[in-house]
Symmetry: C2
Subunit: 153 residues, 2 copies
């Protein structure tokens, strides 16, 4: 199929994060491209971040590889090791099972845009900077196992 | 892990295509990013095409979804339906099983660069414009089943 007409695909602006963790992603807009284009072997999303928005809370996946391609504007990649400026054409990979959490912040005054890929099977994961984990069924818990009243989506 | 240092990853310039089909990809340079970054849930390659080079013979996969992100320069996507100019930030998806073959041509006078993703299982596929198929074991045959003396790689 030819070039994807992004404007024809719904842009989602939602999160399952319990408050107050939802605030950081209020300016995140996501198009889920795999179902829209008939792909099922991996997930693909186009993500646009308004100035100030985060891609997610800083997180890792126990069972899913991730990869990103920066396509427009600038974002800051934050990991255990520090911060990296990502510009169009820059790439990053996050192997499943590493607990070195990652996320992208738009610290600029313009929107930024990237494409993110995910494969494997959701077996849970966690968040580096807050007291939260997620399980294979999308439930959020504190690190002591007590649940949040929220479901990942 | 932080931004991928592409210059640290070997750039391959080879093909298993039997002659004369190998000529079109002589100016194609590929970095295989999944093994280099510890990913196994899907394949990822950075592809650079010299002016005049093709990404591949026009092909399809029976069992593997593909997706591409254009990151630098311009390429022409060719499919059954015609030609589409791809510029940085443009995206295309090719669901497995569709026999609408695709490839990218660098018809410009500058190098172009894109990132391509593949998932699923190799069960074979074919080529739209030449008398060739490939099987799950990487063998090339003519459409009547007679083999070429060449192995896909």
């Amino acid at each position: 199929m030819p070039k994807i007409e992004l404007n024809a695909i719904e842009q989602l602006n939602r999160t399952g994060y319990p408050p107050p963790f939802d605030q950081a992603v209020a300016g995140r807009h996501v198009r889920r491209l795999a179902p829209a284009t008939g792909l099922s072997d991996f997930g693909v999303s186009e993500v646009t971040l308004d100035p100030g928005a985060w891609s997610s809370q800083r997180h890792w996946h126990d069972g899913e590889d991730e990869f990103m391609v920066m396509v427009e504007g600038e974002a800051v990649l934050v990991e255990d090791d520090g911060r990296t400026l990502m510009r169009p054409g820059d790439l990053a990979a996050w192997p499943k099972g590493s607990t070195n959490g990652h996320h992208l912040l738009n610290d600029s005054d313009q929107p930024c845009r990237f494409v993110v890929f995910g494969g494997g099977t959701c077996t849970g994961g966690g968040y580096s900077d807050i007291d939260m984990l997620f399980d294979a069924d999308g439930r959020y818990t504190r690190k002591d196992g007590t649940p949040y009243d929220a479901v990942r989506r």
